[in-house]
Amino acid sequence: MEHSIVVSDVVKMYPLGAGKVTAVDHLSIDIEQGEFVAIVGRSGSGKTTLLNLLAGIDRPSSGTVRAAGADLGSLSESGLAAWRGRNVGLVFQFFQLLPTLTVAENVMLPMDFARKVPVRERHGRARRLLERVGIADQADKLPATLSGGQQQRAAIARALANDPPILLADEPTGNLDSSTAEAVLKLFADLNADGRTIVVVTHERDIRSMVGREVTLVDGRVVQDGRTEVPA
């Protein structure tokens, strides 16, 4: 199967005080198209750094990251923004919806940036995406009036705005109660079922029952990479 993401011998170091700390240490990983991968590990293991490298938010100190057909190291900041807009949907722990735009407008905004979806279709597409995540009735409200679970669903709808082949999520359920978290994970599973590549950084153990592959990091290295059995 074609690789959606290829991480080759990546090292990421951050300056810390007078020295440096290695967040990701000679890490290599391939993720195939349509895989649902969970990156797990303790705090400080390098999970979020790896996700940021996959999203082009961080650049590796050495090694290469290829995703959705692009060598991220060769792209400028502006090029990375355009690449993300077309190929990656990002979901954050704290939702990060723009507070002055309505839920529907938040979903339409990436479409404006990427110009992948024709203008006249954007509103309808946003509505459909919100219906899919179950909050169509909240479309015209401002994010601050929504519950945490609803905001995260809105953020997922925004991540899907340009129909990206890759979804990257950083602790998407970390700020949600258990029942809401379960519903959000179910949503990710449904999206994966559509053939989308999904990488989720999480602490949640329950996710193992949903993902197809679980990668465990310790000190920036992969210590376990196992495929899990997804219940039918």
């Binding site: 938010i57 961080d58 900041e77 923004a81 807009g85 723009l98 002055t100 407008e105 905004l109 940036f113």
Partner: protein, 812 residues
């Protein structure tokens, strides 16, 4: 639907208090700037037009004795044919006490006389209700003299002519004469009569002035050329018609007599405007930087979902333009209104009636450019920086400095001391963002500096007035028609009730000249401005304070042949006179040589020179005589002074001593005050906007500081900080910034005060203003800043203290 436009609109709505504050801040400073610019353009244009409309004389040649009117007409006609002479006309003038409807006035009337057939083609004045000339028995009064003299058209005024006649003349109309300084400032009324009117009273039909307009086809603006041409005409007048030229007067070409004051006033205005603009620039940079910084998390998210830097840059560019546009729109009308209210005051100071208060066309694009482009220019760096923020930088952004700074490190050591932890935290917070701290403190420091410097310059001006007043160590000045022996008149004066002491002085007009040259002065047509007055100091005087000396020494008792010149004389003289030089001084047509033994600095004084009474007597080959009496009264009450002046006048006149004037020195103080007050008002007016801009800057900085640290404040709540603790910390930060700015303003204020004092003083009185630092201004500013900081941060602190942990941590 453009979602970025929607975001922009809602961002503006969501942050409207800050946006409003920003718009108001820019609008206030732009209003001040535009009002000054409009006023500057109107005053410059109207003053020049008004003064030029009088076709001022390039030079005035004074004769002694005066010349018969017919002969003067022939001389003027002949003069017009000489090279370099465009126009020539004969005039005369005298100064007299005045009675209105039989009631004496404390003031004097300066009467200008011209021939009835003078077509007023030069040295013009403008009769209002009637045309020139007034019929015999009638007089026109200067429009601005009516209220000063409490006289109306139709009243009868009695003047004393040089020939001793005291005719009652009916006020037939008013005159507008923009070539003169305003009558209220000079405390002298102005009247205009036909020479035929005087002749009808039995006065000799004579002129003692030949006014000349010199140049090729248009009047020259080159004073050196004018002096050369005027001297040539003067020498010709002596050589051919055989007239005795007493003095050649060449004032600054095309310069109103109050040009020095007007320049000082406009400089004060420009300094104020430049400071307002500079501060608003810093303020704009500060506020926009805060606004953009607050948006960084959102910029990060937009970038994460595909926005490019240019797209985000455009968003904030439009936001900046909207703010600048709104502020500019708001500033336009008030600027014009303020200018229209303010310009007439400046015209009043100059004695000008403006034809129009409409600002020059170029001021509108200049204000638009300043209002729209300056904020844009200032916003460019923070705008580009913000729009280039990477997602990573946005994620890391927590509204505080990334790495501990050196200063923070130093402050951290204070933690070892037993200092209140909340106060320590506030102190550290103030310098967490060094750039913003520098901008905020820089803004407040700049505003404080200008406020204190403006008020200090005002104190310096007041010190000049106080010093001038201190030099008047007598209460009544009696000007006699001719020199008398003080020994003869002293007993007469001493008998007047209320007189404590009397001294005889000589104060006389003089002119400096090179060897063999005609005496040359810079005297204006009013015979006051630019005139050189020589004071002969009597031996053993107790009514004189030796002025501060710049160089050399003061006069020795009874010293002859020695002279001390003040700085105005040195600046005005046409040759480079230095200490130790010998100068030719012409007094009453008698030229003599004097050695400059000292130069004095007399702020607020006109052109002056000092000799001893014995020295003057020796030079004029006469005994020691006096033309002026200085009297100390028993009471310094103004009414008592004036009563003594009237009584002495009556006593001397009754004894056959002709008195030209007798008046209280309060009149002189009022004249000095009249010259200084407009500049004092301007200095105050330019200082006040600084306070407004400073307070707005402080409010905006603290607002931005709190907004950036919402998460952190939430954490403080989460770990148990009570709302009042959070509030106290935030308010303390504002107060720390205010106090830091006050401390930092000390040195610049000292320097700017000196520079402003030098600029104003040298322009106005050829000497720097006395160096004064207004402690009151410093205290007022510090209190204003601390109170302003308190008020400005209180709203932000209250908001911060009310945040729930949930709100704070979810804040984007």
């Amino acid at each position: 639907m453009n979602l970025m436009a929607v975001k922009l609109r809602r961002d503006l709505r969501a942050t409207w208090p800050r946006i409003t504050l920003m718009v108001v801040a820019i609008a206030v400073s732009l209003t001040a700037f535009s009002a000054v610019l409009y006023t500057w353009s109107v005053v410059s244009r109207e003053t020049e037009q008004a003064y030029l409309s009088t076709e001022p004389a390039s030079a005035t040649i004074r004769f002694f004795p005066a010349v018969d009117a017919d002969e003067m007409a022939a001389v003027a006609a002949e003069a017009r044919t000489r090279p370099g002479v465009i126009e020539a006309t004969g005039r005369t003038q005298f100064t007299s006490d005045i009675e209105v409807n039989g009631e004496p006035r404390d003031l004097q009337l300066q009467v200008f006389a011209a021939a009835p057939d003078d077509r007023l083609r030069m040295a013009r004045f403008f009769p209002r209700e009637r045309s020139w000339p007034p019929p015999p028995g009638e007089i026109y009064i200067g429009g601005d003299s009516l209220s000063l003299l409490d006289v109306s058209v139709g009243d009868a005024v009695t003047v004393r002519t040089p020939g001793g006649n005291e005719p009652a003349l009916r006020v037939a109309g008013t005159v507008y004469d923009p070539s003169l300084s305003p009558a209220p400032q000079e405390q002298t009324g102005r009247g205009y009569v036909s020479i035929a009117s005087l002749a009808a009273l039995g006065e000799p039909d004579v002129f003692d002035q030949l006014k000349l307009q010199l140049g090729d086809s248009t009047p020259s603006r080159d004073r050196e050329a004018i002096v050369a041409a005027a001297r040539e005409v003067g020498e010709w007048l002596q050589r051919e018609p055989g007239l005795t030229v007493r003095e050649v007067q060449v004032p600054e070409p095309y310069a109103h007599p109050h040009k020095g004051q007007a320049d000082a006033l406009l400089i004060a205005l420009l300094v104020g405007a430049a400071a307002a603009l500079l501060l608003s620039t810093v303020l704009v940079a500060n506020m926009l930087n805060g606004l953009f910084t607050q948006q960084i998390p959102q910029i990060g998210i937009m970038k994460a979902i595909g926005a490019r830097s240019t797209r985000i840059g455009r968003l904030y560019l439009v936001m900046t333009l909207l703010v600048a546009g709104a502020a500019t729109g708001l500033a336009l009308a008030p600027g014009i209104l303020i200018s229209r209210g303010f310009a007439p005051n400046v015209f009043g100071f100059l004695g000008i009636e403006s034809a129009s208060l409409t600002a020059a066309w170029w001021t509108i694009p200049a204000v638009l450019a300043a209002g729209l482009l300056l904020p844009l220019l200032m916003a460019l760096v923070p705008l580009v920086k913000a729009s280039r923020t990477t997602v990573r930088a946005a994620i890391d952004h927590r509204g505080l400095g990334g790495n501990p700074r050196v200063a923070t490190g130093l402050l951290a050591r204070l933690g070892r001391l037993r200092v209140n932890r909340g106060m320590l935290m506030a102190l550290r917070n103030t310098i967490r963002r060094p750039a913003r701290f520098a901008l905020a403190v820089g803004l407040l420091t700049g505003a404080g500096t200008m406020f204190v410097a403006g008020m200090s310059a005002r104190d310096g001006m007041n010190a000049v007035a106080a010093d001038s007043s201190d030099q008047l160590r007598w209460d009544v000045t009696v000007q006699l028609a001719g020199p008398v022996s003080v020994d003869a008149v002293s007993p007469l004066v001493a008998r007047v009730p209320g007189v404590a002491q009397v001294e005889g002085w000589t104060v006389t007009a003089a002119s400096l000249a090179g060897p063999g040259e005609l005496p040359l002065t810079r005297t204006y047509p009013d015979q006051g401005h630019g005139r050189l007055a020589v004071t002969a100091v009597p031996a053993g005087t107790t009514m004189f304070r030796v002025p501060a000396l710049r160089e050399g020494r003061w006069l020795a008792p009874g010293e002859t042949g020695a002279i001390v010149l003040n700085q105005v004389t040195l600046a005005n003289t046409d040759s480079d006179v230095r200490l130790g030089d010998t100068v030719e001084l012409s007094v009453d047509g008698e030229a003599g040589s004097w050695r400059v033994v000292g130069t004095a600095q007399e702020r607020g004084a006109t052109s002056g020179a000092y000799v001893t009474a014995e020295g003057l007597a020796d030079a004029t080959d006469q005994p020691v005589l006096s033309n002026t009496l200085r009297i100390v009264a028993d009471s310094q009450d103004e009414a008592a002074r004036q009563a003594v002046a009237d009584a002495v006048d009556a006593q001397l006149t009754g004894a056959g001593v002709e008195v030209r004037s007798a008046e209280s020195t309060g009149r002189q103080e009022a004249s000095t005050g009249g010259h200084l007050e407009p500049i004092l008002v301007i200095l105050l007016a330019t200082a006040l906007p600084m306070g407004v801009i400073g307070c707005i800057g402080l409010a905006s900085t603290m607002g931005a500081n709190v907004l950036e640290r919402v998460r952190e404040l939430g954490v403080m709540h989460a770990i148990g900080a009570r709302p009042k603790v959070v509030r106290r910390i935030v308010v303390a930060e504002g107060v720390f910034i205010a106090l830091a700015s006050c401390l930092l303003a000390v040195l610049p204020a000292l320097g700017v005060t000196a520079a402003l004092g030098a600029l104003l003083g040298n322009t106005f009185m050829y000497a720097p203003l006395p160096y004064r630092i207004s402690i009151l201004a410093a205290v007022v500013w510090t209190v204003l800043m601390v109170l302003g900081a308190w008020l400005a941060t209180d709203a932000a602190a209250t908001r911060a203290s009310r945040l729930t942990v949930r709100e704070a941590l979810a804040y984007l």
